[in-house]
Amino acid sequence: MADSNNNRRKFMATTLQSVGLTALGGLLWSGYSDEVKASPLVLRPPGAIAEEDFLKACIKCGLCAEACVNRDSNIDRETGKARPGTLKMAKGGDHRMIGTPFFIPTEVPCYMCEDIPCVPVCPSGALDQASVSNEKGELDIDKSRMGLAVVHKESCIAFWGIQCDACYRACPLLDEAITLEYAKNERTGKHAFLLPVVQSDACTGCGLCEIACVTEEPAIFVLPIEYSTGKAGSHYVKGWDKKDQERVKDAKEIKTKNIRSEKEASDYLNMEVEY
């Protein structure tokens, strides 16, 4: 009797120990996995689904990167030798989710191959072929949204009045994704500014502008779309836009109640800010 009691105690103790250690391991493992997931400024291949889902879906096989580097067009025109591919597989020290494909435009941008070799080979669905296909179901690289280029006005020498259209000319969607806006140079009074403007409805985020930029650090660069765009929010309605106005045609009055609504808008907006 005493023996079976001892055995039961031992069993209870070892079970408790196993469960406890598993919980400990689970906490450490979850914490680590969650941290390594957080690599926000990463550019993914064409057709990549939203980053949160991409990190779930990517099985880290590298077929996209292999298709990228081994594409027929990837030959250096001068030497006739194979060039490095655009897509790299994140390794330890890259500070991106290990084993996932990404690219750095200043190293090798995406050349936007028409046959998009990297997308159809994806077995898991992390790269979605439908998102880079047109209505007829044909591949259309112009539909890809790898990122969105942003111009930093202060370091872009075109904004200084110097004539430079390197990014404009490098853009594969010439005069669509980057347009030139003409403005008068008031400083000299007789010259024109030729200002690059990124059109976010056309820019694919390929990064050819970024590598073409002549400044020491690129004044135009690609960021993941969620980082290079803001969001006005659905509570702003363009009253002058018939379609947008449709959204509120059945709207009823809502009284918002929060700390701010205790005061009139004119009161709290004119209040001094407390730091």
């Binding site: 996995s33 099985i59 880290k60 590298g62 390794k91 020290g93 898991s124």
Partner: protein, 267 residues
Amino acid sequence: MKNMKYLLLRRVTQVTLLVLYFGANAYGWHIVEGTFGSSLVFGVIPLADPYTTLQVLATGFVLGADVLLGALIIILFYMIVGGRAFCSWVCPINMVTDLANWLRRKLDLDKEEVNYRFIKRRARYWIMVLGLIVSAVVGVAAFEVLSPITIMQRGIIFGFGAGIAVIVAIFLFDLFGVKNGWCGHLCPLGASYSVIGAVSLIRVDHDHEACTNCMKCKIVCPENHVLYMVNKESIMVTDGECTNCGRCIDVCDDDALGFSIRNFTKK
């Protein structure tokens, strides 16, 4: 060379596979492309690792049919034919841990007093299940974040970077920490193949009559509890944790061990 047959065959298989995968990236070969997570054979047949596939499914992502079919092919192969052969015939980490184990014996680190037994062999099954839970909670295939197997394979194909540290860590752990620590105690991928391959046809068979009880097989076996029948009974090694590496067959001087096909009708 007689006692190296299966060892050499395994090394040839492992290295050939790595060369073929490397060539797929470096030279555009279409024999086997991708990595062990998911591959393409001759540009047509998909293969996928079952545990990796399960982790992705655990995150809630509905995987493409290619991966599901690939995982099914792998499951059927190891379930019916190979047993846990992935671990000893395919996995590149096997070469690292075999080296650590060999050095252990040479450096006299194999003695009981210097073998830290703070981990139990069944820990891997807990880790395997835990990996699926963490995948579901965090929303990322949890073992793939740190798997030395694919880190090593991708390292060989695409370059190691700092990932080499993981391989060195496994080596040091197996050499100075727990004997067979990684493959025999912790690796959830090995655990998954133990489960998949538990009923496979290819098995090591023991002949009790021929055995002289020299125990060489138990010294080299990375999972030596599976050889409990040595010099006791003439039965097959049916434990799913046997990796079918054949090292016991290599070192046996008495022809008491050999590969055989499991006979389900015989008791």
